[in-house]
Each structure stands twice: as C-alpha cells, then as structure tokens.
C-alpha cells in the first residue's frame, strides 16, 4: 500500500470555449471534471498501474463531496481524506478551441483550522506505519503551517517508511531540510529553491540541503537525478508533444513504483520518463495509455552524467 498526501485537494474542471475574450460572455461547449491536486493525480496513476493506494489530505464542502464520490469509482484506491469545514477548491482550465491555449483560474482552497490540522496529523500518524511508501504532494492550503511537510517527512522517517516530497517555495525549502528520501522539483521549483538556473548545479545544491535523492523534471529535457547510487540523465526515445499537465505527477508515480520494486535507479528513471511521456501524449490531462507506456519503456535512454 502506498500513501499519497494532498493537503490542497481540488476538483479540476476543464471548459472548452471557442475563443476566450475578456469582458465578453462565453458558451462553454464541453465540461469535464475530475479529482485533482498532485497527490490525487499520483494516486490515480498508481491505481492504473495496479497498485493499492490510500489517499489522504483535506476534503470540505460540496466540492469535497464531489471529489470523494469520484474517488470511490477508482479501483484500488482507498479514500482516507480528513474533513475540513472550508470547501475544497475548484480549478478551472479554460481551453481555447482556436489556439489550444489554456487559461487557468484557481480557487485558493479552504482555510484549515488548527484543530483540523491536528486531526490530519493524527490520521497521518495512524496511516504511515501500515504503508510501504509516502508521497507528499502539492501546495499547502491557507492555515496549514509552512513547515507542515517537514513534520510529515519526519513522521515517515521515524516509522522507517520512505518518503517522496513534491512541492514548491518555502514548503519545499523547509521540507528538504527534514531529509526526505526523494524530492522531485521541476526546473522552476529547483531554481526558486537554490537560486540557480543551471540544473546540475541546482540539483547538487538541493541534495546538499538534505534530500537523499533529487530528481529534477526538466520538461522536454527529461529527468536529471542525483542519488546515492550515482547521477543520471533520462530522456524519452523522441521528443513528445502534447499536454504537459500531470506529466510530473506520472513521473512521481513511476519513481514510487520503482522504489517499491527495489529497482536500480536507472530503471526507476526509465519508468518515470516513460510514464511522464505517456501522460503528455494522452488526450486527457494526467491519464496515460498502457500500450504507449510500454512502447516508450523500451526506448528511454538513461545516461550516467
């Protein structure tokens, strides 16, 4: 069983409109919605790969109920979300049919009370000892202390459970210092953490800050990994074009399954890159096609750097 934590769960809504023009009225031609927030996206990929996965974090209000209703439909996924009084946020991606461009509107999420945060920590402490890995994913909702992930990393380490951290800003800075097993920043998050836009140097800096392994997702430039076993650069067989939303979450799922299967790092990176590329190629953000994934697996290149 893998545990993914999504403190700021979301209902991700996608609207298609012919062309978004500010200060006019638009008829939405297509509406799709699904549970979101990085940890829920990771969990969905893990479940699609046949893993048992428990999700926790906060769920509140009518939007939280919709998220939870949709999660019950995912085979292999166990809902352990903790109630919050404030409503789970909606995110709206408005896709312009003419250009394919997306305009994003993100609600802030519920303000979590200190009692709710304590209740979550207790629930997390109960869940951690029974799982084989933990992934801590995404932004913190208002009210959750900025050092939250550092505490959650320490709880997992105290229980001897490997923990991956995928967040940004000050929450990442504090979380890294608590020495997680893996951090997976993207290029922007890595630059913000380290002040360096040079990926190799920045990845080395991030590792010195406390992460046992750093896997930087560099978009079309693949993954750069610094680990206790060595350092590698992993690339898909050919550049892939499509929707990058959810590609990072698919990579996290690949890293987690590789960790559970005790694969050598190059094989973990192969899985992560293939899943990430398959997600980019999928018409639905964050989904992936199994046949595409398996074809990609055969062609990923991993080079020691």
């Amino acid at each position: 069983m893998i545990l993914t934590v999504t403190l700021n769960t979301a209902l991700d809504i996608t609207y298609r409109v012919r062309s978004l023009r500010p200060h006019t009225s638009h008829r939405v031609t297509e509406v799709t919605e699904r549970p979101g927030g990085k940890g829920l996206n990771v969990a969905r990929v893990l479940a699609a790969l046949g893993h048992e996965v428990t999700v926790t974090g906060f769920s509140g209000g009518a939007t939280g109920r919709i998220v939870q209703d949709q999660l019950t439909a995912v085979p292999g996924l166990v809902d352990a979300l903790v109630p919050a009084t404030g409503p789970t946020r909606r995110t709206i991606a408005v896709v312009d049919e003419l250009t394919g461009d997306t305009t994003q509107l993100n609600e802030p999420g519920p303000t979590v009370t200190s009692a709710e945060w304590s209740a979550f920590q207790e629930a997390y402490e109960d869940l951690v000892p029974a799982v084989s890995a933990v992934a801590l994913c995404g932004s913190l909702p208002p009210g959750v202390p900025v050092g939250a992930y550092a505490g959650l990393v320490r709880t997992a380490k105290a229980a001897g459970v490997p923990v991956l951290l995928d967040t940004s800003g000050e929450a990442l800075r504090r979380g890294v210092a608590a020495r997680p097993d893996i951090v997976k920043p993207n290029a922007d998050e890595l630059a913000e953490l380290t002040g360096s836009h040079e990926p190799l140097r920045a990845t080395q800096d991030a590792r010195r800050r406390g992460a046992r392994a750093v896997v930087a997702s560099l978009g079309a430039r693949g993954l750069l990994a610094l680990t206790p076993e060595g350092r590698w650069h992993a690339l898909p067989p050919t550049p892939v074009h499509g929707n990058p939303t959810g590609a990072g979450d698919a990579a996290v799922a690949g890293l987690l399954t590789g960790l559970l299967d005790q694969l050598p790092w190059p094989d973990r990176l192969t899985r992560a890159v293939a899943l990430s590329a398959a997600a980019v190629l999928s018409p639905t953000a964050g989904d992936f096609d199994h046949t595409t994934y398996e074809k990609l697996l055969a062609g990923v290149s991993v080079t020691a750097t």
Copy 2:
C-alpha cells in the same frame, strides 16, 4: 403563492481576480456562489418582499444538490424542482479587480430527456391551480422543445392563473403567440422578436403578436409598458450606476407583486422600476436593500406616452 419556473437553473459563481489575462494562470481572490437562473432570482426577490413563492424547473447532479441546499435557506421559498439526470449548469462570472469588467463562462445545462420533460409538465400542471400567478423565466436547456413556454402559458391560462413570460429568441416568439398576460423583454430581446430597434414600435408589434401587456426593460432608459389600460414610460428618480445583473429579474418580481395586489399599471411600473434600480445599486448582483427600494419608490416618474 406565486410560482416561478426556471427550466435552466444554475449555480452562479463569481470569481474575483486581479486582472484576467488569457493563457495565463490566475489565483482567485474571492469566491461567491448562489442559486441562479432568472426564475430563481425572481423568487429570491419575491421572498425578500415577504411573498410565499414556489420554484420549479429542473435540478440535476451535484450542482443541482448545491442549488437546492442553498434554496432551503431562503425563508418563504418552497422548492418544487424536478430531478434531471444531467447536471445543473454552473455559470462563472470572472470579475477583473483592476477594471471592474466581467468575463462570463456559461455551461450549457443538462440535456433534458423527453421523460423528464413529461414529468416536469405533470408537476407543473399539479402546481398551477394552487397559485395566484406564474412567471416563466429564462432560457430553455437542451432537450426541451422550443415551444415549451407556449404550452406552459396555455396551461396557466386554462387554469385561470395570470402568467408572465420573460425569455428570448424562438422560445419568446412561440410563447408570445400563446397569449401570456405579460411579457418582459429587454431591448435586445424585443428587437430580435420584432426586427425593430425603435422601442415604441417594437413594443406595439410584440403586443400584436399576442401578449396582453408588454413591459420592455430598456436599461438606463427605464421601462416602457403597453397594456390594456394604457401606455407608460417609467424612470427612476436619477440615473443609477452599478451592477445591472438581476435588474430585469427584480423588475419581474415588482410586476408580479403589483399584479397580485391588483394595483393600477402605473403603480406596478413604479414598483418594478424602484426594485430594478435598487438591484443595480446593490453591491451583490440581484440583491437589493429595502431602505434604498423604499426611497426610490417615492421618486419614480411614470408618464403616459
């Protein structure tokens, strides 16, 4: 008891953002939501004026449940919405904090099945004999026949219950021909119905098409009414500036209460104009302040034309 019909109910969501820029990501700073669709807006004004009001139309899915939950909180309002399989639509108004301008995103609404439409008609036929007036308001959701309002007008008339129609396009064209007691088009709807942009001529044409009384809402130019008692032009004491959303629905509520109180037409128009102006002056779209309304009542001018 007044009955308002909203076939295409909605959850109206308002987002405030600093400045809407297409193809970028936005943090929503404030989220408000409330039941919407013209008939529900009219009902809320009626309830705020102390009238008992029953609402019907369709409600579906998770959004429909949110709408119905919020309606139960309105004193004096009875929920008689009929279930639909498809989800009630959301409308999103994105308010630009820098300019005050609004960008509107409207979901299409559920596709109503013929069985659902039949169930609604039966429910409506059961409700109509017990009420003192009916208001048929807003657009038709997909699947509802374009002659829907014509049939609903005939049912009300057969039961001897006065009926007001506030819709647009072909639904208005067909509905007017069924001889409703009042139609309340705005300037655009009137021009589309009649082909004339000259309000007096267009209002006369609309009346010839079958409406017993036509009350055209002309925005800042007030109300123009052609009735069996005469014709009038009604204006607020001073031009009002604010949010025009819901002003037309407030006018409909004023016309309905004037009809129930058997007021002479000039007094009905006074109420409609004062409510409409109070709605424009309210910071929250579609709400109104009672004191402002009563002050405005004293200053409305109604001129025979």
